[in-house]
């Protein structure tokens, strides 16, 4: 049912797109129709997949590093209460620097290879992940912790058995945000300077008026991002069966 609806939406959008091409009579190097893009995808599938692999690796590595760093920072903030007044302002101020503006510098420091793109993706998801994890860990219901104390749990056990599991839903939303933002970081990194990756391919195709190839690469990129999001969403549901249960209940009531 759901997948049928998604297919319907996709078909409807493609129809509108084609209609726009017919109505404006735009030349194909300005706005190619959906069929032309599909043809470009089919004709260049090897090339596109090769670049997509590089971008995917950058996204996944950035995601891994960003999530580990973010979770680590949140745990540090929770565990060492005294660090909070020092670290929180730094975190907030660091957010006022637009990460995109750092891209050229990252290129300069880390080179044109994959490292600078991974760093870009890591940086762009670091703050949302840290904020979500920290909030989740901080907002453990006090009564649960008190109960744990009367049951004889020490601080470490309270963190592992009460704080962390109760923060899982918040960590999950941090992870979902990270999954949808990490591809942006990787592609921006590629735009600034690279010789591989979907971002590079799109820039290159655009410059040579191969707009159909540009759209084909864009299509693959968004497919990748959407699959990543749904994969993570699915994993999180598996990890939190008690949550999905209540979600289904909500859906039934609504």
């Amino acid at each position: 049912m759901n997948s049928l609806r998604s297919l319907g939406i996709a078909a409807g959008l493609c129809g509108l797109w084609q209609l726009l091409v017919w109505l404006t009579d735009a030349p194909h190097f300005i706005l190619p129709g959906p069929l032309r893009v599909l043809a470009a995808l089919y004709g260049n599938i090897g090339l596109i997949l090769q670049h997509a692999g590089v971008t995917l690796a950058e996204i996944l590595l950035g995601l891994l590093l960003g999530v580990l760093l973010g979770l680590g920072s949140a745990l540090t903030l929770i565990w060492f209460r005294r660090l909070r007044p020092w670290m929180l302002p730094i975190l907030v101020i660091s957010q006022s620097i637009p990460v995109f503006a750092l891209a050229p510098v990252l290129m300069l420091w880390l080179g044109y290879g994959m490292a600078s793109k991974v760093a870009m993706a890591t940086l762009i998801i670091y703050f949302p992940v840290t904020a979500a994890c920290y909030d989740g860990l901080r907002h453990t219901p006090a009564a649960w912790l008190e109960l744990a104390r009367t049951l004889g749990a020490d601080k470490r056990t309270q963190l592992l058995h009460i704080r962390l599991p109760s923060a899982l839903p918040a960590l999950g939303s941090g992870l979902r945000v990270a999954a949808s933002v990490a591809p942006i970081g990787a592609v921006v990194g590629e735009w600034v300077g690279s010789s591989t990756g979907l971002g590079y391919l799109m820039l290159h195709a655009n410059a040579r008026m191969q707009v159909d190839l540009m759209f084909a690469a864009l299509l693959v990129l968004s497919l990748m991002a959407v699959s990543l999001y749904f994969l993570i969403d699915w994993l999180l549901r598996r990890l939190m069966p008690w949550q999905s249960e209540t979600l289904f209940d909500d859906a039934r009531e609504a």
């Binding site: 109960l147 744990a148 104390r149 049951l151 004889g152 309270q158 599991p165 109760s166 008690w242 249960e245």
Partner: protein, 245 residues
């Protein structure tokens, strides 16, 4: 069995005294019900005995009948069931052993199953708390507390969120299962106090004072329609109304 003396209890809240110089005794193996309106400091007293007083200005001299500290000998049951939503029913009952040691022994597992059958929830081991009714959840909380097998039991309005009939059933169940423990039950329901308490204390006024303990003749749990219970309930309600402004 353990009796507890609380002497010279005092509580300050935002600079003014809520109560001071309170003295009372929890007789060994008996239920003491502490009755009073919200904000009179009942919960703080209970938390003091539970050792949960980090941010509160409540003080007292606590003397157990065997002269030792109360550390690790107190079980606490709150108004909310505090079941952890990510654990099944059985694992929630086993929370104490799970938190103290990483591995739960088969004997403890067996004991938890037995306690679940005692509270009338046999066969629901694997359910998540979200799939239980309010009464069932509070029964799990009761089983979790019994799992600890501590001599002193502190209950903070544990049945106040339940509907009337469920509440009566759970009162009977708790009275039966905790018959030989020393219990301090806090409540704002005179009927609950009179059904369950060997002695009933009322904390009221500003600064709050304790009334002399009321000791109904027979042993709890008492029936809801017992003349003595009804008469005393009327008296307590009148007393509570007169002293509140």
């Amino acid at each position: 069995m353990l009796g507890v003396d609380v002497r010279n209890a005092s509580l300050a809240w935002q600079g003014h005294s809520v109560f001071s110089e309170l003295n009372f005794h929890l007789p060994a193996g008996e239920w003491t019900c502490l009755l009073g309106q919200s904000g009179v400091g009942k919960s703080s007293l209970l938390r003091l005995l539970a050792g949960l007083t980090e941010q509160m200005q409540v003080r007292a001299e606590i003397v157990a009948s065997d002269g030792k500290s109360l550390d690790g000998r107190v079980a606490w049951m709150a108004q909310q069931d505090l079941l952890l939503p990510w654990l099944g029913v059985l694992d929630n009952v086993l929370l104490g052993p799970r938190l103290r040691r990483s591995r739960v022994t088969p004997a403890q597992r067996e004991q938890a199953r037995y306690l679940l059958s005692q509270v009338g929830l046999a066969g629901l081991d694997a359910r998540y708390p979200a799939a239980l009714s309010g009464g069932q959840r509070q029964r799990v909380a009761l089983a979790r507390m019994l799992m600890e097998d501590r001599p002193l039991v502190l209950m903070d309005e544990p049945f106040s969120a339940l509907d009337a009939v469920t509440r009566l059933k759970l009162q009977d169940l708790a009275a039966h299962l905790l018959a030989d423990r020393t219990v301090l039950l806090i409540t704002h329901d005179p009927l609950e106090a009179l059904r369950l308490g060997h002695q009933v204390l009322v904390l009221q006024g500003s600064p709050a004072r304790l009334t002399a303990p009321l000791r109904p003749q027979d042993a709890p749990p008492r029936a809801v329609d017992q003349p003595q219970v009804l008469e005393l309930q009327g008296r307590l309600l009148r007393q509570l109304m007169e002293l509140s402004t």
